[in-house]
Symmetry: C3
Subunit: 242 residues, 3 copies
């Protein structure tokens, strides 16, 4: 299985062109879009999202990850191998949390090059062909050199910021529920917010937080949009009021 994690949006030609490459190179592979709307051009919040959601996929999954504001510049192309999953994409911190949380982690620099490489669409020209080859069973060592130097960016283990606003207006944080004492209150958008077990446990219009189905602390409003009620966006800071 190949899982896509990008900031392309679902519309437009970008995902479709990558899918065409994947299909031509690895016709047997199943491709699933995990996120097409990761924070645009922001590898830091995207790294916390990816680490929380990728862990839920079966081992053997190849993640094709494109949040790549430095495309065409000097940033390297890498594969992170972490706990029997592979992550293909730019070396801009996107895989830092995946690597840090894995028991077994290794960073590879992609050495494979396509016959023709555009300056602006490495997702199609470089990352998708490599992901498809890995999904087909080609060995990493045929495509990349191991033990690439890893530049530690010093990002925290958990990020006390909003990292994603979903379709319902729920605000996902970069904090894992397991790292926060459950009776704690959060402060977000200038408001103190108590935990609740589920939407229907609070009155309509009330903000609450809970640990979502992928382990992230998430802020919601029963029958409302938390981002609008609390004025939250990707990057808004959260504090734990314990």
């Amino acid at each position: 299985m190949i899982a896509l994690f990008t900031d392309f949006g679902l519309a437009g030609p970008y995902t479709g062109q990558m899918l065409a490459v994947l299909h031509q190179t690895a016709p047997e592979a199943t491709t699933i879009s995990l996120f097409a709307d990761a924070p645009p051009g922001q590898p830091k919040p995207a790294a916390y999202l990816l680490a929380a959601y990728a862990a839920w996929f079966p081992t053997g999954t190849v993640f094709l990850c494109v949040v790549d504001p430095g495309v065409g510049g000097a940033r390297r192309a890498v594969v992170a191998s972490a706990d029997d999953r592979l992550y293909v994409g730019p070396d801009n911190g996107l895989f830092d949390l995946v690597l840090r949380r894995a028991a077994d982690a290794r960073l590879w620099e992609i050495t494979w090059r396509p016959p023709s490489l555009s300056a602006s669409f490495h997702g199609r020209d470089l990352f998708a062909p490599v992901a498809a080859r890995l999904a087909k069973g080609e060995t990493l060592s045929a495509l990349a050199r191991p033990d690439a130097e890893h530049f530690e960016r010093g990002w925290p283990d958990d990020l006390a910021e909003i990292v994603y606003i979903d379709h319902y207006g729920n605000a996902l944080t970069g904090l894992r529920g397991s790292q926060v004492p459950t009776p704690a209150r959060l402060v977000a958008g200038g408001r103190s917010i108590a935990p609740a077990a589920t939407f229907s446990a609070v009155p309509p219009g009330t903000a609450f937080w809970y640990v979502n189905a992928n382990g992230l602390l998430e802020i919601a409003v029963n029958r409302g949009r938390a981002n609008e009620v609390l004025g939250l966006a990707v990057g808004s800071p959260i504090t734990i009021d314990s």
Copy 2:
């Protein structure tokens, strides 16, 4: 074939995580997204949309339906069996119109439970595994108990409201064309609207109504957005001016 009917939006991780479950459990099944933007958290208009669009799919289709504002609360998980199609989802009225319009209808309560059930994402943890098992050919009686009590919500046979605004700004109603006399005028957004056979039959900028390709009465504006021109949204009332 498994058809998805949700209010998840296409972006974000929710549909992708359900697709991963479907693929792992029923790799041979083809999955198609019918609606990913059903009215968010509103089972009533969604029920009229579902009934109109599901009837068009081939018999044997399994519909995985998640418009589920009560997730985590006391609402039951059900399968509606109606005219050789199966509908898996929450028991909140979403299947009321499908059941009422079927010649052969039966409601089942899902008894199967996953090893681990999140409080907020029954689509992934409960409904998708059940839909995949049904698509693979497992019997309903292995997953659910028949003749679940059906709470009639007293919703009308046709809903004189807007139930969906599409990408073009066209406003779909919950009224079936077959139930409305064709020369009738409608009143919507304070304006009286005449029928027309097709877009090009009226001048640009003119509102008209017609029976859409799935049998619902729909309000459109030639080369314009009916929702903006007429001030319509999901829930706006319609009256028939006959």
Copy 3:
């Protein structure tokens, strides 16, 4: 492979219903969405987008193209055969540039008719069944009559307008990079814009143009949204300041 090029948007039931038809008729075919958000109801800019992106797909691809404001009116249904790719859709100019740029081009009028044809959704009822039959290997001559009269609309070889705004706010023009002298400046939104090799070659907030990965001249702003910074939308004129 069947590639979809439509103005349906990804949400809503339209793409899903076409996919259901394609799957039932040609279950072996792989279907990829290239554009679901072509300029709504505007065949002219869509024609330049299609010509630029279709050329990148492998020969043998069948394109199912629905930008069809005249649906239900007198416009014909056609197949354009151009350089070993097939394009199925309405005869409204959408294929004019594909035909003009092909070494080997022929226009066919679709004669096949479905048992039942709605007035508003020829994508589902007519174009998708024809595309699926072609993808399965049915001959064009069984579905269409060759040498349909081609009404030349007199559109230019390259269109000096914005034809698409992407998810990042980048503004694609209908100008091929190969037709523009590279040191030229463009004027768009009242501003003179210089070329740059890539995003990271200009300071944040600066507008520049480049030739994108599909050969079209594109206007972008490093770490910004060109459409907002420059006030651009589909149809905005571009001039080359050479």
